[in-house]
Each structure stands twice: as structure tokens, then as C-alpha cells.
């Protein structure tokens, strides 16, 4: 397949990062994530002292400050798991489609999940949050298959730009259906408008508990397919020659990614661009071996979303900037940068 390009030229130094360097970076990422989680709990529209933070972490909500901190803890945890899910699913999607522009947001998968949830709530009276997750995953899977089918039409198969275009178009179409479904329903319109921007506000331990089993399955499937994705990166023919069943790998890994981003969308709305930015950054840190980049992407995604959520709470105090807005502001310029880097003949 002549049309397939990896996103960076083969560079021996990057391909073979020594294990020590990778391990060091892994420690750095974990430390940064931990620091960001602490910051996210400590920062917000209300200034709190460290004593209050410690007290609240211990489970106390005696004063107003401690109660505020106690509300921030589940929010931070939700940002961490959603960010990890989106980062990992972006990395897997980029591996499966061998496409540097792949991202659950750009490929229209998040919007498909969003449309499914909105339709189920408006037309079938769905109220159970667990039901949200199943419906969202169904919508995500449908739109992923649809976008891949449309992007593969015609000469050259699924080239990065054709896939991205098909995804953006599907996303726009789903978004306009979402408005049509939500708008006449005043009872759900207000809450859905906010949900549709994408945010982790209003998190609770209960909600996190509901999504955790799904996320665990998704994480397991994705991380276990790392080695197979390495073979796939060599090209379909070579991967088949190495004894991999290409179609099975693709389907399994994509299913894992869809479970992750469907669940994330059900819990926090369609948050875009995290899955795009994170894997690119991780390949700079950890090289191109999926066994390293996948866990890296999960950690970095968690860090990015936690940071974006905390930043959104701090910059416009006392108001919140929804995390979906912050990630679009960070991610879209990066998307443009990658599009610009593509050579003309790929367009």
C-alpha cells in the first residue's frame, strides 16, 4: 500500500529509545500526573489552605473549604480515568488505522456516541446511567465502522486525510442531529447543552464506579494488543507474513478503543483532541514501540485532562471553563500543525 505513511520518518534514535530513558520518562510522567492531581484538588474557585486539603483527603467535610475540596476529589479522579481512556483509545486508533490524524473526536466516534445517548434519552426514555454506557458504545462502534467504510472508499484505501475528512463530516452531521433531537425537549436541553461541550464537573464516586468495569475491559484489550499493533505498523502484508491475523487484530484493538471512548463519552460528553495530541507527544518520549507508547498515552492523557480541567477552573474564576473547551483550544492548533506537515501528494 503506497498511500500509507507513518507520521514520522524512520529515525533510528527515536525508534530505539533505550529502556533506561523510557523508564525515566515513565517516572517523570507519573510524577507529573501525581502533582497535577494534587493541584487539581487544591485549586479551584475557592482558595483553600493545605490543612483543609489534607483534612478533606482524610474524609472530613466540616468546613466550607473542606467540603469544596471533597467535591473536587471525585472530579479529579474522573478526569484521570477519562483522560487515560481517551489518550489510550487515540493511540490505539492511530495504530489500527496507521493514521497520525486518528482521534476519537476527529473520526466522529465521540459524536456518534453522543448522538446515540441523546436519542436514547429523548425517544426511549433511557434514564439508567449504565444504559448510557451501552448505548454510547453502540453508537461509537457504529460510527467508527461507518467512518472507516466511507474513508476506505475509492482509490488508495483509507488514507489519513480521507479518513479525517470522513470523520469530520460524520461528526458535523451527528452534531446537527444532536441539536435537532435535544432542542425541542426543554426538560433535557439545558443539561445536554453542557454535557455536549464535554466536562467532568458534577462527578461522583457512584458515576466513576459505574464506568470502571467497562474501562477496565477496554484498557485490558487495548494494552494486550500492543505487540500485535507493532506488527501491524509494518504493513498488512508483512504483519500477515509474521503470522498475525490482521483482520482479527484490527477488529479487537478497534473494539477496545471504541469501548474506551464510548464509555468516556457517556460519562463526560464528547471531549475532542486528547486522543490526537497525546500519542504524538508520547512517541517523542518513548519511541514507536506500542508496548511503551500505549501505557504512556494513558498516563499522559490522564495528566492532560487533569491539567485542562484544573486550568479551566483557575483561569476564569469563579466560573468554570468546561474541559472540552480547553482541550479544543490546545488540540486544534496541533491538528492543524499535523495537517500542514502532510505532503501534497497525500492530499
Amino acid at each position: 500500500m503506497t498511500s500509507v505513511r507513518t507520521d514520522r520518518p524512520p529515525d533510528a534514535a527515536l525508534v530505539r529509545r533505550p529502556a533506561r530513558v523510557r523508564a525515566l520518562w515513565l517516572l517523570v510522567v507519573v510524577a507529573v500526573l501525581a502533582a497535577l492531581m494534587v493541584a487539581s484538588v487544591a485549586l479551584g474557585s475557592r482558595d483553600v489552605s493545605w490543612a483543609d486539603v489534607w483534612a478533606a483527603l482524610g474524609g472530613s467535610d466540616a468546613s466550607l473549604e473542606q467540603a469544596a475540596v471533597a467535591k473536587r476529589i471525585p472530579r479529579t479522579l474522573l478526569a484521570v480515568v477519562i483522560g487515560a481512556a481517551l489518550g489510550l483509545s487515540g493511540a490505539v486508533m492511530q495504530g489500527v488505522t496507521r493514521n497520525p490524524l486518528a482521534d476519537p473526536g476527529i473520526l466522529g466516534v465521540n459524536m456518534g456516541a453522543s448522538l446515540a445517548v441523546v436519542s436514547a434519552v429523548a425517544f426511549f426514555g433511557l434514564t439508567a446511567p449504565t444504559g448510557y454506557i451501552w448505548v454510547a458504545m453502540a453508537g461509537a462502534a457504529l460510527s467508527a465502522v461507518f467512518v472507516y467504510a466511507v474513508g476506505s472508499l475509492g482509490r488508495g484505501g483509507p488514507t489519513p486525510l480521507k479518513l479525517a475528512l470522513a470523520g469530520a463530516v460524520t461528526s458535523a452531521a451527528c452534531a446537527s442531529f444532536v441539536s435537532a433531537v435535544v432542542l425541542p425537549r426543554n426538560d433535557i436541553a439545558g443539561s445536554f447543552r453542557l454535557w455536549q461541550i464535554g466536562g467532568v464537573g458534577g462527578a461522583s464516586y457512584e458515576r466513576i464506579g459505574q464506568i470502571l468495569p467497562f474501562l477496565a475491559v477496554g484498557f485490558a484489550v487495548c494494552l494486550l494488543s500492543a505487540r500485535a499493533l507493532n506488527s501491524l505498523a509494518l504493513g498488512d502484508e508483512l504483519a500477515a507474513g509474521l503470522g498475525e491475523r490482521v483482520a482479527v487484530i484490527r477488529a479487537t484493538a478497534a473494539l477496545g478503543a471504541v469501548v474506551l471512548c464510548g464509555t468516556a463519552t457517556a460519562a463526560a460528553g464528547p471531549i475532542g483532541f486528547v486522543g490526537l495530541v497525546v500519542p504524538h507527544a508520547c512517541r517523542l518520549l518513548a519511541g514507536v514501540d506500542h508496548r511503551w507508547t500505549l501505557p504512556f498515552s494513558a498516563l499522559t492523557g490522564a495528566a492532560l485532562l487533569t491539567a485542562a480541567d484544573a486550568a479551566g477552573r483557575v483561569v476564569a474564576r469563579p466560573a468554570d471553563v468546561e474541559v472540552g473547551i480547553v482541550t479544543a483550544l490546545i488540540g486544534a492548533p496541533f491538528f492543524i500543525y499535523i495537517v500542514r506537515r502532510q505532503k501534497v501528494r497525500d492530499l
Binding site: G154, P184, A319, G324, I325, A328
Partner: protein, 352 residues
């Protein structure tokens, strides 16, 4: 027509070509007249019909300035500005959309997909919600930011020339940023005013007043002649920049004039009615189907746009249990077509 004719019968070939041209141009005229008649009919219906029906005599009386009890308020204050804005905004979107699609030779390169409408609505939303500006200032801000966004998209897409697909993808990225700015501005609005929000997110004609209509009307009256005077150059440029230059078109000057005029139309219409979803995108291809190959699509596309907005607004008000803003109706109509278009272009292979 069919197989190439031998040299001996050249006169009849010339005649055949001339006949074909005449036939196509008469078809174009016929389509344009039919569209205009339909648009006028739809406009008349939106003035007469509604919660209460007023006979044509009453409506005419109101338009001529007479006092008709009941109708003076309902038709004169509510339906007339709304209908006029529907026509003006629809025509502006259709005309500007087809201009971009023709110039960039790609149906996906319409202003509502490559971020120009998003730029206008982000500026308008910020101006109204955060800066509490009114009327003219909002229009000015909208047009300036739409122009800046158009420039930005063009500059970012420029690398060894502008390639259609890259421009579209960069436009999509830019509009993702701008849409989130709009969402942010709206989420800061004191109470969540859905009407106002919908105006800037998908477009709506609810509660239109003459103050909103006038700037858009003036812009349309000024900028339409500018665009139409460039119609010939635009079709020459469709053959490629070099061919266009060889045919005597000042390519760069035409391009700049056309972009500024089209962006102006979009910005004024958007600041009055919001970015009515997909009208700019849909009008051109529909007009192309109706008119057939060859010839300028500018006027037919404008008429299609006006007709689309009129019909969609009327349907949105009365066809369903709930009242939909016009942008939602056009959005639902446009979405399947958008997907059909991407399927068709991909299947045809090659570039869009």
C-alpha cells in the same frame, strides 16, 4: 454531443455547439425564473399563513403602509422582518457559499465548513454576551473576525500552493477552536438563554426586528453586484489559475475581491441570523444539479438559499409539534447530503 465530426461538416458542428449553448442558457434562465417565482411564492405564504391567516389583500395593505387591525402588528412587525431576513440571509449564504465552492473547486469548501461562519458567530457571541455591544458594532466585529479567519485559514493552508483538502481540514480545525469559544461565551451568559444560544450555534430567525435586517439587506445590495460582476472571471478561474490568467483574468485581484465580498455577505448575514447551518454548503450543489453544466451558478444558488431558508423556517415553525429554529431544520436536511457528498467524492476516487 457524440463522436467527433469529420472536417467536411464543420459548419454543422458550429451550429450544434451554438444550439447547445442556446439551449443551456435558456435552461439556466428558465431555472432562475422558476426559482425566483418559487421564492416569491414562499415569501408570500410565510406572510399570509401562521397562527392566524390573513388574506393577500390585508398583507398587501400592510406592506403599502395601511392600517389593518391585527394584521398590522402580526404581519408588519412579526412576519415581514422575519420573511425579509429569511430571503436576505438565504440569498447571502447561497451566493457566498457557491462563490467559495467555485473558487476552490470543491463543494466541501463552503464557508460554514471551513470556519468562516464560526468566526463570525464566535465574534458576535462574544460581542453580545461578554461585551454587551449592540447592532452595528456586532456586525463590524463579525465581519472583521470573519475576514481574519478567512485570511488565517488561507495562510495556514498555503504550502506550495493551496490544496483543497488541506484547506478544508485546516478550516475544520479552526472551526473547532471557534466553536468552543462560542460555547464558552454562551456558557458565561447569565442565565442559559436557549433562544439566543441557538441563534449563534445553528442559526434562528426567532424574534427578528428591522434593526437586525437592515445591515444585512444593505450588505446584500452592495456586495451582490460586486460578486456578479466577477462571475465571468470566476468561471475562467475554474479552469485553473494559469489558464485563467491566460484568458485575461487578473487572478489575484479577482480572488481578493471575491473573498472579501463573499466573507462580507457571510458575516453580515451571520450577525443577523446566526450561521444557519449548511445553507451555504447546500445551495451551490443543488443549484448545479438544477442548472446543469456550464455557466455561472451565482444567482441560482442565491435563490436556492433564499428558498431553503424560507421553507425551512416555515416548516420549523409549523410542521412539527415543537418549534424548531431554522438552523436545526437545515442542519437535519444538510447532514445526510454532506455524507452522501463525501461518499460520492471518495468513490469517484482521486482528490475532492
Amino acid at each position: 454531443m457524440s463522436a467527433p465530426a469529420p472536417a467536411a461538416v464543420r459548419p454543422s458542428v458550429v451550429q450544434a455547439v451554438a444550439r447547445g449553448r442556446r439551449r443551456r442558457s435558456s435552461r439556466r434562465l428558465l431555472v432562475a425564473v422558476a426559482l425566483a417565482v418559487l421564492a416569491v411564492a414562499a415569501f408570500a405564504v410565510t406572510l399570509m399563513a401562521g397562527q392566524t391567516f390573513y388574506p393577500p389583500g390585508d398583507v398587501l395593505g400592510v406592506i403599502l403602509g395601511e392600517r389593518v387591525p391585527g394584521a398590522s402588528f402580526t404581519v408588519g412587525r412579526l412576519r415581514l422582518p422575519r420573511g425579509v431576513l429569511a430571503v436576505v440571509a438565504g440569498f447571502s449564504f447561497g451566493l457566498a457559499g457557491v462563490t467559495f465552492q467555485t473558487m476552490l473547486r470543491n463543494p466541501l469548501a463552503s464557508p460554514d465548513i471551513i470556519g468562516i461562519s464560526s468566526g463570525a458567530s464566535a465574534a458576535a457571541a462574544i460581542a453580545i454576551v461578554s461585551l454587551s455591544l449592540g447592532g452595528t458594532q456586532v456586525s463590524v466585529l463579525a465581519i472583521v473576525s470573519a475576514l481574519l479567519v478567512a485570511l488565517l485559514v488561507y495562510v495556514l493552508a498555503f504550502r506550495d500552493g493551496v490544496v483543497g483538502t488541506r484547506l478544508i481540514l485546516i478550516g475544520i480545525g479552526i472551526s473547532a477552536i471557534l466553536d468552543s469559544v462560542t460555547s464558552y461565551a454562551l456558557s458565561r451568559a447569565g442565565d442559559w438563554d436557549l433562544q439566543e444560544a441557538m441563534r449563534w450555534l445553528t442559526g434562528s430567525l426567532n424574534g427578528t426586528t428591522w434593526d437586525q435586517v437592515l445591515p444585512a439587506l444593505v450588505a446584500l445590495a452592495v456586495l451582490t453586484p460586486v460578486l456578479l460582476s466577477r462571475a465571468h472571471d470566476l468561471s475562467a478561474m475554474q479552469l485553473g489559475d494559469d489558464t485563467g490568467a491566460a484568458l485575461g483574468v487578473r487572478v489575484e485581484r479577482t480572488r481578493i475581491t471575491v473573498i472579501v465580498a463573499a466573507v462580507g455577505l457571510i458575516a453580515f448575514a451571520t450577525s443577523a441570523a446566526g450561521p444557519i447551518a449548511f445553507v451555504a454548503f447546500l445551495s451551490g450543489p443543488i443549484a448545479a444539479r438544477l442548472v446543469g453544466a456550464g455557466g455561472s451558478l451565482l444567482v441560482p444558488a442565491g435563490l436556492v438559499g433564499a428558498l431553503l431558508v424560507l421553507v425551512a423556517d416555515f416548516a420549523g415553525q409549523f410542521a412539527f409539534d415543537a418549534r424548531f429554529p431554522v438552523g436545526v431544520v437545515t442542519g437535519v436536511l444538510g447532514a445526510p447530503y454532506l455524507i452522501y457528498l463525501i461518499v460520492r467524492t471518495h468513490r469517484a476516487g482521486g482528490s475532492l
